[in-house]
Symmetry: C2
Subunit: 209 residues, 2 copies
DNA sequence: TGTAAAATGTTGCAAATGCAACATTTGTTT
DNA sequence: AAACAAATGTTGCATTTGCAACATTTTACA
């Protein structure tokens, strides 16, 4: 995953942050971060810690949208922060730096060498996000639970370059990612084993085709 | 939808295109555009016409991923163009301009005034894409067809700022967008009418809650 | 280390949904 | 205007799936 300040040295990071009117806030665990954010478009960088985007249904059902860890980025550019159904909860003590999107046209900063690197990093991050979403959509558009599971496994195998891999999340989280019932997913995974299509050992998966 | 060259005059558009080593190609109808694209990262802008991204399953099932019209943008930054399962088909005579992503650091162009506008447009386009995908995911993660339909209608109502709106696609395409069986969707829509939750008149929908 | 919380595994059952196979209407092209 | 293609509407049926309600194992943490 690309870091917003990748390939920029500390001095220039500080310089850029200054020009972009960056503010850094440290939050305790289990706090809703979005509640004290202003109206302007912003980009948030997690310096340390992690947050989880959660949405709450009209009938109170919570679902986890996304988890973002240290180095990760989120912002009003790519997420409707004024949406009351969505909250962004710190999962631990978390430090976040906010930069104002509008200040990226700041004349002074445009002339600095690090600026173009910064912009390229930003573009890279956004592109990666689109790609990630495309992968998720590719899974979710599959009609059956079986095909969703296999599509996820295929993506993992392709990322790791091997038909054998350990999934990086719990099965509970995986069910959430595929948007299927956990127990139905477990059931389908045993069918896949019965049919000789996969082998499993805990979270280690091997594709047999 | 943002155009990549929005707020840039024709002279500067030509200048930028020159610096970014832009090439323009006109394709006939029903041609796979991705087949003759090189390895470098690129951004494609549809000057005129429309294309459709299609994926073909292992057992030959075609599904439409996305339709992009005049002014729209796509590229290897946000889509794996080397994926053999995915093709990009022109739906009519279509003119496309390609720019090389790596040339956006071109020193000469950085100094031009229009450059920052161009970059901001690009960032805006990418952000919009992430937002669009988020909306789609919000729909697809709903468990029931009914909730998928209602989520789509809610998004439409919110975009138009009215509980009464005309959906911009056919019901066949909508079923595809929600990734549900078309006939099952039609059935569920009549239930929604029976339950007094919506009213319909052709593609015009009114939310009654 | 002990205890609570979270993750995992399993199964019955009702409800939802994909699929197939139609009829009918609307739109497009020559 | 005729002919064809695409979109829409409808229904029966088998299958899949969510849901609930458990038991068991693993992990977190005080």
């Amino acid at each position: 995953m690309t870091n917003l300040f990748e390939n920029i040295n500390d001095i220039n990071i500080r310089k850029i942050k200054r020009f972009l009117r960056a503010t850094t806030i440290t939050y305790p665990k289990n706090v809703n971060v979005l509640s004290n954010v202003n109206q302007d478009d912003f980009i948030a960088i997690i310096d340390n810690g992690s947050v989880q985007f959660e949405s709450t249904d009209y009938d109170g059902n919570k679902s986890i949208i996304e988890t973002i860890n240290t180095g990760g980025t989120f912002g009003s550019l790519t997420f409707p922060i004024d949406n009351e159904e969505i909250s962004c909860i710190t999962k631990e003590v978390t430090q976040i730096t906010y930069i104002e999107y509008n200040s990226i046209t700041n004349d002074e900063i445009i002339k600095t060498d690090s600026y173009i690197i910064f912009i390229k990093n930003l573009i890279k991050i956004l592109s990666d996000q689109v790609n990630e979403k495309n992968n998720r959509i590719e899974i979710l558009t599959k009609k059956t639970t079986r095909d969703k599971i296999l599509e996820y496994f295929k993506q993992q195998a392709s990322e790791r370059g091997s038909k054998s891999f350990t999934i990086p999340i719990s099965f509970t989280e995986l069910a959430n990612h595929l948007s299927v019932d956990r127990s139905a997913m477990t059931r389908e995974i045993s069918y896949l084993k019965d049919d000789g299509i996969i082998k499993t050992n805990g979270r280690r998966i091997t594709l047999l085709y």
